[in-house]
């Protein structure tokens, strides 16, 4: 059988976001892959530089639909570091609590997506039903299901009452039971093990060389976790294990994520138990003094890095985001090669990609002339008018 090139995406049932894989197949085997990003580029970094710090929180929170709290906390931490703000303890604990709830929500979502990619819709329905419980808690304490909007400079916007904490504890107990069941399912169900084992192998050396982050790296035996290595928020006051696994395949990544769910439950219990009393925020001036800061945050998908440079005005001079997917995307391309087409969706899903976080402007080179061309908005509009005119469609 000859080689055929098939396009997966930008619109394809396996992908939840627009991106394009050009897969070269030999029979069912993938012999080459080419990724094309840029369908969802929003220019958030530039937009941040043109808005005030207060407006930026709202913008940064919308970088990702799932780890919205991760991005906003990461950004706010950088700004607070430049402004030298002492954040109240209670606010830090609330941030940690929301961050861990977000991790649970994200990992349960991932479990469902992964199950769907291998055609196991029952697990998908089950885990998404349980995810609703976490979303309910988040809606209860922040007012929103995904973009919580709980962070602000110098603390958080909403306090949590005792009754709400009790409610969280109750839900966490229930979720822990459910998660134990999922652990049992993934460890025992044969068709899951068959589909996930020895797929998308990534050795420890490769994971380090290609700079993998988050659960992908931890599943290859790389013991990294920003929460422990460079503690932020309240993570230096709680005890937790960093889950690693030596399977180094998609199955290992599944086990790591489910293991992290269990750790998150324990962190939430400790946070609620030790939550100090006191104010929830301090006032931060509108203008941030000159300086620069780099902030790291362990988002559910891996390490998130934000860099902020300020020039003394109320707008940042430069904002740079590196979402975890950007670090993992090279690894993913490496992992896909030489596997079956049937394995492609699950290998892509196994890094828990968030392409809208990652999207960058890309230049596409013409293969023959080795040149590329940049169009601004005006010339793009003119181009499209000409395109339609040539085909006899009137404006």
């Amino acid at each position: 059988m000859g080689k055929i090139e098939i396009p997966i995406g930008p619109q394809h049932p396996a992908l939840k976001e627009p991106e394009n894989f050009r897969v070269i197949l030999e029979g069912e085997k993938i012999v080459g892959i080419n990724l094309r990003l840029g369908y969802n580029h929003r220019g958030i970094e530039k937009a941040c530089e043109e808005r005030t710090y207060m407006q930026d929180i709202y913008l940064i929170e919308r970088v990702c639909g799932i780890c919205s709290h991760s991005h906003s906390t990461c950004f706010i931490q950088a700004v607070e570091e430049i402004a030298r703000v002492e954040v109240p303890r209670r606010a830090i604990y609330i941030r940690t609590l929301v961050g861990e709830l977000e991790r649970i929500h994200s990992h349960l979502l991932w479990l469902g997506v992964a199950a769907h990619e291998i055609g196991f819709d029952t697990l998908f329905m089950y885990s998404w039903r349980d995810r609703e419980k976490v979303m309910d808690i988040l809606a209860d304490i922040s007012g929103n299901r995904v973009n919580y909007g709980i962070n602000t400079y110098g603390g958080v916007k909403r306090d949590i009452t005792k009754e709400q904490l009790q409610k969280i504890l109750k839900t966490i107990d229930m979720l822990e039971e459910r998660t134990k069941y999922y652990i049992q399912v993934t460890r025992e169900e044969l068709s899951i093990i068959k589909r996930l084992s020895n797929v998308g192998k990534l050795s420890k050396a490769e994971a380090i060389e290609f700079n993998a982050v988050g659960p992908v790296a931890r599943a290859s035996g790389v013991d990294i976790d920003t929460r422990r290595d460079d503690p932020y928020a309240a993570y230096d006051e709680v005890s937790f294990k960093v889950i690693t696994d030596n399977h180094a395949d998609v199955y290992g990544r599944t086990l790591v994520r489910i293991g992290e769910l269990m750790e998150s439950y324990s962190i939430i219990r400790q946070v609620i138990e030790n939550m100090p009393e006191g104010p929830i925020s301090v006032k931060v001036p509108r203008k941030i003094p000159e300086g620069e800061a780099l902030s790291r945050y362990e988002a559910p998908r891996g390490e998130d890095v934000h860099y902020v440079k300020s020039n003394g005005s109320d707008k940042p001079e430069r904002v740079k985001l590196r979402a975890p997917t950007l670090a993992n995307i090279k690894v993913m391309l490496k992992m896909i090669e030489n596997y079956n087409l049937a394995d492609l969706p699950i290998i892509v899903a196994a890094i828990d990609p968030c392409f809208s976080c990652t999207d960058r402007m890309i230049l596409i080179e013409n293969q023959d002339t080795r040149s590329s061309e940049v169009m601004d908005w005006k010339s793009l509009r003119q181009y499209s008018i000409n395109w339609y005119k040539k085909r006899g469609i009137k404006f």
Binding site: I6, G119, T122, E189, K194, N340, A342, P345
Partner: protein
């Protein structure tokens, strides 16, 4: 005149269409309840069917437009025809001749072949991959299915499904000998009907809708209907061959019993569908040749010995 009624109304096209859509509802409802969902209302498959009929019929720019158009009718005709030879209200089917069980089995492979050709004549990448998967899968499940069903016929020493049912009705407990064959054919049926864990040819997260990717409107509705009817016919065949008890009662009772048997088989299929993940094509072929095919050979050997010893 009567033949036209048989073919078009009962137990032909009309009855089968309604039964097929109803069975689709049962399958979807069971599947949904197992997944903790509410599931569709009873008229959902009918509504889907009518909606598809009213949709635009898009035919891709292929050289095989005629093939593309007539394939759904072929699939539908083959499944409906095969049902006429299956006994549903007694030991006698409507039409019968010597060797009809082989004809039924071959008529039931025609839909699979039309699915393959449908993908092939779409001239698009995803259908092409889907149809190559259909053929690969076909060679994995078809032989165990044939062997399992034919070894039951071997025990009855006949190639006519009527005589077979009569034989098993006479010897009430003999169907227990075929229990391995029943399991084998349930597994093969999952492959034939392209259900999880063998829904590889239409794995939506990999190749969109397999060979039906380019189909829409009326033609897709026809294909969907023929798949639904295929479920009924295959379950009916399995019920007639492997669960042949109570066939000498009052015809109305037998018919009721037949519906219960079909529902039972459909429930098994939905249960398996809810419990497993989709396998890869190489794993599926491996599984079928390593475990399912040897089991069907075992059934064949058991029946040959039994036929020599007992009867």
């Amino acid at each position: 005149m009567m033949s036209i009624v048989y073919i078009l109304i009962f137990p032909g096209l009309l009855f089968l269409s309604i039964a097929g859509l109803f069975i689709e509802y049962v399958d979807r409802k069971i599947y949904a309840r197992l997944q903790n969902r509410v599931g569709p209302p009873w008229f959902q498959p009918f509504a889907d069917f009518i909606k598809l009929l009213s949709k635009e019929n898009i035919i891709p720019g292929t050289e095989e437009k005629v093939m593309f158009r007539i394939l759904p009718s072929f699939a539908l005709a083959a499944t409906v025809t095969s049902f006429l030879y299956i006994p549903i209200w007694g030991t006698n089917a409507l039409f019968s001749f010597h060797g009809d069980i082989i004809v039924i089995l071959y008529l039931l492979t025609i839909p699979t072949i039309t699915f393959f050709l449908a993908g092939y004549s779409s001239h698009s990448l995803f259908p092409l991959i889907g149809s190559s998967r259909i053929l690969t899968q076909y060679f994995a499940y078809e032989i165990p299915l044939f062997l399992a069903i034919l070894s039951a016929a071997l025990l009855a020493d006949t190639w006519t499904i009527n005589e077979m049912t009569a034989f098993y009705t006479q010897h009430t407990w003999y169907w227990l000998f075929n229990i391995i064959g029943f399991g084998v054919s349930i597994i093969a049926l999952l492959g034939k009907l392209e259900k999880v864990p063998f829904d590889i040819p239409e794995a939506e997260t990999e190749i969109v809708a397999g060979s039906f990717t380019e189909y829409s409107g009326r033609l897709l509705a026809m294909f969907r209907l023929s798949i639904d009817i295929e479920v009924v016919v295959c379950s009916a065949l399995l019920a007639a061959v492997f669960l042949p008890f109570g066939m000498n009662l009052n015809p109305a009772l037998v018919f009721l019993l037949f519906i219960i048997k079909v529902l039972f088989i459909v429930a098994i299929l939905s249960l398996v569908r809810a419990l497993m993940a989709r396998l890869r094509i190489d794993q599926m072929v491996n599984f079928c040749w390593k475990y399912v095919a040897p089991l069907s050979f075992l059934q064949l050997i058991i029946n040959i010995i039994l036929q020599g010893v007992v009867i």
